[in-house]
Symmetry: C2
DNA sequence: TGCCTGTCGATTGGATCCAATCTAACAATT
DNA sequence: AATTGTTAGATTGGATCCAATCGACAGGCA
């Protein structure tokens, strides 16, 4: 049959099926990575020329980004890249601190050796990585590998979405605590391997707690450097 | 000054500022209430004539509903109202079981007597209500009243969104357990009043747990009535 | 009969055009 | 001088038009 061909098609699917998909994915990546600064107004005409499409796919993409809380939309005034504030960061942490333990808890019983191997490889990659952007990507993949067996697609997608949003705070995170929390990562992985749910959840909670308090201290020091 | 005027404007804002807003809000309500059945294909031309607008606001609205996971969008094939399945319901419960305790926990310390009074009134209304649609609305308002003081807008919005999604399962919920869990509601409210976080969270967990297991049993009985 | 192929209507995706709204600068009035 | 009114340009919202894709059905071929 065509199993060889279908493998090829799996490996190289047509990149985007519609212009809207293309614009949406590219814009989201640009916002999350910080390539477009928070507060930047997104002019439809301007985006249309840079993407070499009409304003229509731009408009549809912006609508979807609005629903994902990546841009603010005001009628007749256009879209603006959402700001990064302490409140936003705390909001994101609170949401992840709720979703991630749930995903991990449901996933742990179904994790297998293949998952642990992949997670281990990602941890090793993180150790050697220096580029902040790639580190965010690797961090996300590590976490999602451990959550992937939860079996609830919406929970997983929602968790991944908010983990991706956290990339926006990555620069601040690194400035605040300097590392990606590899100690907690390793502890979490070891606990998962041992099937020790309580310990894994504890490691994850420490992970969130440490990052969240560090971030808060960092922002508050920034906002009132001399009081 | 104009404090009287601004109160008036608060009370009666222009209903919708754009056609897209209007279509989106109306369609969402229709989907959540079940007025449009799961699996229904949403033809753009058809919707355009019923809403008396062109296809353009329809398209933008459908994009936003897709990002909210209320319709499935397939390129060149259009939008379909998402199905109601056991997996979907479990997914929704898992997400709410993660988000709601977090919101409640953060909100409890800032709840005041006004909030308790409002919550109490809503509970009384639920007791007398028979219309399932209104009961979903009231249930949502009760929960959100207790979560509202969490101080994190995104967490609150996300929680409310998934609480609203649960309205889609309301018929099944009522068929499965017959009531809205008023006992747990009352226990939760009393615990909040007493500032007893642990007891409030416990009541909420029982609320979710009971609903979730009942729903699972109900679906499984439906899917394999004679095996 | 069963399967492939081509064609046509229906539907969506994208481009272009027009109308409505916002912003800012400037003029006019007190 | 400060506030209000006006007007022009920029920008978004909405409508219409054309192109691309999908699905079903009919016809040809083994």
């Amino acid at each position: 049959m065509t199993s060889g061909l279908s493998q090829l098609l799996e490996a190289a699917p047509p990149r985007y099926r519609t212009a809207t998909e293309y614009v949406e994915a590219t814009l989201r990546e640009a916002i999350l990575s910080g390539a477009i600064a928070p507060g930047t107004p997104l002019r439809q005409e301007e985006l249309a020329t840079t993407f070499k499409v009409s304003r229509m796919p731009i408009r549809e993409a912006l609508r979807q980004l609005e629903a994902q809380a990546l841009v603010d939309f005001e009628p007749h005034r256009g879209a603006v890249v959402v700001q990064i504030t302490l409140l936003d960061a705390m909001d994101n942490y609170a949401i992840r601190a709720a979703l991630e333990p749930q995903a991990l808890r449901l996933s742990i019983p179904h994790l297998g050796e293949e998952d642990f191997t992949i997670a281990e490889e990602i941890l090793a990659e993180i150790d050697q990585e220096t580029d902040p952007g790639r580190m965010g990507e690797l961090n996300r993949r590590f976490h999602m590998t451990l959550y992937a067996q939860a079996g609830l697609p919406r929970l997983i997608a929602l968790t991944e979405q908010h983990l991706a949003s956290a990339d926006r705070y990555l620069r601040f995170h690194l400035a605040a605590i300097g590392d990606m929390g590899q100690d907690e990562h390793r502890d979490m992985l070891a606990a998962c391997r041992a099937g020790d749910e309580a310990r894994a959840l504890d490691a994850l909670a420490r992970h969130h707690g440490r990052a969240s308090t560090a971030m808060r201290a960092f922002f508050e020091a920034r906002e009132a450097p001399r009081g």
